[in-house]
């Protein structure tokens, strides 16, 4: 089971002098259970690509988007099936909060699906739990008076309450303080590992991408410039730099050390593993 994107192209404002080619013959496959990362500069086509994955942008004639072997074009006919398959968390999702209470807002999606009150509540409790919010404490509060981090979590819970199989996150940590960011990243990891929800994540932050993702797609000018397992992609650090992007800080450090210790494996992103690797190399030569 997977999301397959085949030869997808998309142009904004076609035919006008300011037309912009956002996607140019993009083909990718995202397998179930993965955390996939999409990185690239502003305007490289990331947002356009992810909006294709749940039918918010119509797939044009040449390309194809298959979700679990079903053509999105057919799925789109019933908005509700698409929502339940592929959840979409936009950038700054707290902007979409509008209800009087957290409970009502998170329950908005399930209610649209036509579920009864009991199952709506069940889903709300479960979704809030997935983002580490306590239903009993928060469900009667007004979304507009929550803290930034809580608002973000409530908004994400609103999508999780749709019980999607695939969850798309567009820069989920943008504008959060470092502590909340770490927490949210842990929650995303947990959602993937414990609930088995496939995650597709757009990000500008190489450190969080390297920590979380299994596979990585690097976009440039509407094309996939690099792709593969995250470790392998960052191993091509010179290519990444050529694209005007940065490698994770941890890779910078390991690369620096590997210049005098060539045996060092610089494709580690876990801090503990990296420390061990450095110590191993230094000790090896020291002895």
């Amino acid at each position: 089971m997977s999301i397959i994107i085949n030869k997808l192209s998309y142009t904004y404002d076609p035919g006008l002098s300011f037309e912009k080619k956002a996607l140019d013959d993009v083909s990718i496959t995202i397998h179930e259970g993965q955390i996939a990362g999409i990185i690239g500069h502003t305007g490289s086509g990331k947002s356009t690509l992810i909006q294709h994955m749940n039918g918010l942008i119509k797939v044009n004639a040449k390309g194809k988007v298959l979700v679990d072997q079903e053509d999105l074009f057919d799925l789109r006919k019933d908005v509700h099936t698409v929502c339940q398959k592929v959840g979409m968390v936009f950038q700054y999702p707290e902007m979409q909060l509008f209800e009087e209470t957290v409970e009502k807002d998170v329950g908005f999606g399930p209610k649209n699906l036509g579920l009864d009150e009991h199952s709506v509540k069940e889903r709300v409790v479960e979704a809030l739990d997935m983002v580490d919010l306590d239903y009993d404490k928060i469900h009667q509060r007004q979304p507009f008076f929550l803290s930034g981090g809580e608002k973000r979590r409530v908004a994400i819970a609103g999508i999780l309450a749709m019980k999607p199989k695939y969850l798309i996150l567009d820069e989920p940590t943008a504008g959060l303080d470092p502590y909340t960011r770490e927490q949210l990243l842990d929650e995303i990891l947990k959602i993937n590992k414990e609930k088995g929800i496939t995650i597709i994540m757009v990000s500008h932050d190489m450190d969080e991408v390297s920590r979380l993702t299994d596979v990585l797609y690097v976009m440039q000018k509407g094309r996939i410039a690099l792709s593969g397992a995250t470790r392998e992609v960052f191993a091509q650090y010179d290519k990444i730099r050529d694209l005007g992007l940065m490698v994770p800080e941890i890779t910078e450090v390991l690369l620096g050390i590997s210049r005098c210790k060539p045996d060092l494996d610089y494709t580690l992103f876990d801090l503990d593993l990296a420390v061990k690797e450095i110590l191993k190399n230094i000790h090896y030569h020291g002895n």
Partner: protein, 265 residues
């Protein structure tokens, strides 16, 4: 469904045409004059003259004609409605009868007039906004309102308000698009349902839109105060408007034929 694409209010198409380079005041006065003309003229020949003049101006602006047609879209229903009413409700020499519906010769004329009048109105105002930057437009308005300061009209404040409003139209449209998409992803189907249901579906769009508009207004107010903006104080302009030979030339070329039409009738 994209709202941004279907609304062209306040859109400005930059170019280097003769019309773009005119002083905004020239254009504002000319458009006002043209609009007065539209209501002044009462026969077909006059309208055809105005239409030819309009087409010439559109040609001169180098802006694609499709943008002008887009301006018609929002009021298409209004145009059709008034044309149909004029066509069937005007009494006079019978021309054609379809059962109880009667079309008179006078009706055909009245419908044509009203059609041309509305289209010319839209084209004239589109021409102004498409070829003039919003800043230029508000500066021109401020200048032209200056004499009325004596009777207490706050010219510079009005123009500041207009500048801010025009500046945020695209931003708010973009945000609306985003919210529509975000709520669609939560299972709202904006393309289905009866009138009541559709109105209800606007709530998840309108509330966040208002919330962020108020927040943005607050931020803007603070940013303006931080830069010492004060109501009622005289402000200078970075770019002073200047009348050139080009503007006088345009006035002559524009108003001589237009005024001669008036004189003619």
């Amino acid at each position: 469904m994209e709202i941004r694409k279907s609304i062209s209010i306040g859109q400005y198409i930059p170019a280097n045409s003769f019309l773009h380079m005119l002083d905004p005041r020239t254009k504002l006065i000319s458009v006002l004059g043209f609009i007065v003309m539209i209501f002044f003229i009462k026969d077909l020949f006059g309208y055809l003259l105005l239409l030819v003049l309009m087409i010439l101006l559109i040609f001169l602006s180098t802006i694609p004609f499709s943008f002008f047609l887009r301006g018609l879209k929002p009021i298409l229903f209004l145009i059709l409605f008034t044309v149909v009413i004029q066509l069937f409700m005007t009494k006079g020499t019978l021309l054609l009868a379809l059962g109880p519906l009667k079309i008179s010769l006078e009706g055909v004329f009245a419908a044509t007039y009203i059609f041309l009048r509305l289209v010319l109105l839209v084209f004239a105002s589109s021409l102004l906004t498409l070829s003039t930057s919003p800043i230029g437009l508000t500066n021109a308005l401020e200048y032209l309102l200056r004499p009325f300061k004596v009777i207490g009209i706050p010219a510079s404040e009005i123009s500041m308000m207009m500048t801010i409003a025009l500046r945020f139209i695209p931003t708010i449209l973009e945000e609306t698009d985003r919210l529509i998409k975000a709520q669609t992803a939560r299972g709202v189907n904006f393309e289905k349902g009866n009138l009541f249901k559709r109105l209800q579906q606007l709530i998840p769009i309108l509330i966040p839109l208002f919330v962020s508009a108020f927040r943005r207004a607050d931020d803007l107010a603070i940013a303006m105060e931080a830069r010492c903006f004060q109501v009622g104080k005289k402000r200078t302009h970075l770019k002073e408007l200047s009348f050139t030979l080009r503007d006088w030339l345009f006035f002559v070329l524009f108003f001589v034929p237009v005024l001669s039409i008036v004189w003619f009738y």
